[in-house]
């Protein structure tokens, strides 16, 4: 029994080592994705290119414009004519355009409402929304300072007694709000998902395609031995990848691993078991490697999107939020980020682990049964 399993394992590792695609899957995505998410992917919006046309050209309007220029959120470009705006936005040279009409300073001086027109390219609704927020912040800051200055001139005593609220920012777990800290732990889950699911599915389907599956099935090997031989290697590879990316995240991107490695490992084991179940399942519904590829994508895309890896689950429609409870990656993302940044342990994360363990048990049972049947 052990002899056969050992031979299966040797063979599977040889396949992975000799197969270009498997070798790439093993090292390519971890490197690329860690770099991509470490450097490029960010939720922050900085350096929004903005065109400003100032028809008022007053002390007040210049003051307002300089506030935008001083902000690190904007790249300001002065233009002389508002007719340029449409063209600039069409060419993606600017995302927003601000227009200060003449009479801006006059209205302010009279104590009337002064208008600042903001045109925004909302084809990327997220950038538009965030950009509008930044504009609002700058404009409100300007208005507040203008009001305070006016009040100080006219009634200094009253101005001194006006209450104010100062926001004291204390971002826990990620004091500098670095998005890498959010993404690098998260990407571990994505990668393990892609690698374990596709490698497992391919490993079985390839044997079916080339006929060796049948050749193995006429040997006295037990079904259990075969399934173990097909899953243990990818289980180990999943663990190895997790370790690799964690190491890269800690050493290269300095993402602190605050929590216990043991808790992380426990979550990862539950998660990989789920992915093995999914991979085996895909192998039972695919006759060729191409089908396995397509089916894998059917699973991978929604699994990543509905995991909270990028966009928060709480912003999804309630119906979809409920669906995410079926997604193992959803739980693993919580485990990864919580262990990494918050440093919490089993006492907090047991529901996530229990959910993954349950999904793994169901998936593996279904897959193994289907798989056994597909061998008959």
């Amino acid at each position: 029994m052990l002899g056969r399993l050992r031979q299966m394992l040797i063979k599977e590792f040889l396949h992975v080592i000799r197969d270009k695609r498997a070798r790439f899957l093993l090292f390519g995505p971890p490197i690329i994705q860690t770099l991509v998410f470490g450097y490029a992917a960010t939720l922050e919006i900085k350096h929004v290119p903005v065109a400003i046309v100032d028809y008022d050209n007053s002390q007040a309007s210049r003051d307002l414009v300089s506030r935008f220029q001083a902000s690190r959120y904007f790249e300001v470009r002065r233009i002389a004519d508002r007719r340029e705006i449409a063209d600039l936005i069409d060419r993606d040279e600017v995302t927003m355009a601000l227009q200060v009409n003449s009479g801006f300073a006059r209205d302010l001086g009279k104590g009337e409402t002064a208008h600042l027109q903001v045109i925004v390219d909302a084809s990327n609704s997220n950038t538009a929304l965030v950009g509008l927020g930044y504009v609002n912040q700058v404009a409100q800051g300007f208005a507040r300072d203008f009001r305070t200055a006016a009040l100080e001139r006219q009634a200094p005593a009253l101005a001194a007694s006006l209450p104010e609220i100062v926001v004291e920012r204390r971002p826990w777990y990620n004091p500098d709000l670095t998005s890498q800290w959010f993404f690098v732990p998260g990407v571990i889950g994505n990668l393990v998902l892609v690698i374990v699911v596709t490698l497992t599915a391919f490993a079985v389907v390839r044997e079916r395609e080339i006929g060796t599956l049948e050749q193995i099935m006429v040997t006295p090997i037990r079904r259990t031995e075969f399934i173990l031989g097909k899953t243990i290697p990818f289980f180990l590879i999943g663990l190895l990848d997790t370790a690799l990316i964690s190491l890269a995240g800690t050493l290269w991107f300095h993402v602190p691993l605050t929590g216990s490695f043991l808790v992380l490992a426990a979550g990862t084991v539950c998660f990989i078991l789920c992915m093995l179940g999914v991979g085996l399942f895909i192998s039972t519904v695919s006759a060729t490697q191409q089908q396995a590829m397509v089916t894998s994508f059917f699973f991978i895309m929604p699994a990543v999107i509905f995991s909270g890896f990028g966009s928060p689950i709480s912003s999804m429609p309630v119906f979809l939020q409920r669906l995410t409870y079926l997604n193992p990656l959803r739980y693993q993302e919580v485990v990864l980020r919580s262990v990494y940044l918050k440093g919490v342990g089993f006492d907090v994360l047991w529901p996530q682990m229990a959910a993954m363990a349950l999904i793994a048990a169901v998936m593996l049972t279904v897959s193994v049964l289907r798989f056994r049947k597909s061998l008959e």
Binding site: R4, Q7, D19, E214, P220
Partner: protein, 353 residues
Amino acid sequence: MNGAPPAVVVRDLVKRFGDFVAVDNISLEARPGEIFGFLGPNGAGKSTTIRMLCGLLLPTSGQALVAGLDVAREPERVRQNIGYMSQKFSLYNDLKVIENLRFFAGMYSVPAADLKERIDWAIDMAGLAGREQLLTGTLAAGWKQRLALGCAVLHRPPIVFLDEPTSGVDPISRRLFWELIHRMADDGVTVFVTTHYMDEAEYCNRLVLIDRGRIVASGSPLELKEKSMAGDLLLLECDQVGKALEELQGAPGVTDAAIFGNALHLVVASAQSAIPQVQEFLATRGITVSHIEKIRPSLEDVFVSLTSLNRDRDEGDKGEANRDQGDKRDKGGTKDKGDPTGTAVTDEKKGQP
């Protein structure tokens, strides 16, 4: 070998896939040390039968005993007693020759003491000495085929199933392969082999002809040739072979006509009366006969004759519905008399030395 229990016993074996009957009530017995040939057109049910005997498929009904063990009840014990090789030569192309051998030796739990000797034997048999470290995928088909056989018999099984083992290899490799089969049979191994090569069928001790899931004839090659043809066989050489074939198919006294190479084979009730009759018949239609004689039927003739006989009967008693199914199963194989089955067989034969 007489008196020894049969190596393979099949009783009333049936396999249905939905409405389609792939194997229709087959019974047979193979004796130890026998080369047992399973002959039939594509889609006749040969592979399905072998796959049931290996425990890869569950029969719908009936029983199969292999090495005295019921395949349905003790598949794992059966597997220790058989070797199986399919036309795909299912080896791992990305593993080295030696790695494939070690893997299959491991699957069959070849004892450590025997391991080296068995692997050396297989390498020697496949003619791969010195090439142990090559990736299997780089080997030519003939070598792969012999390596696959080596992998399948590392555990010295008493029964070997070969499912079209020689498809896709060159004639010399095929000959070498059949020498290996004979050597195994000499050692007492029962070899159960499917083929649609007629010359290979001649090498078998016993043949079963199967068509549309049913056994249509069985016996030694000689018995089949002597008993199974109704009437005599004529070889006819003439100009305008195509036209001659067309004309002769409805001609009086001619039971069947088929193209064989550049000539025609005709099945007639009696050679004596048919020879002048055919000559005259063709002469009136402007076809010149250059040569006509009575010949001894080859297995190919028997094959064509029996499979078409079976088809006629099938059509007769089961009607259209069944016929449609048969056509689907054939995938363009055996639709009308003598063609394309006859042609396919002929073509394959022409490809041989």
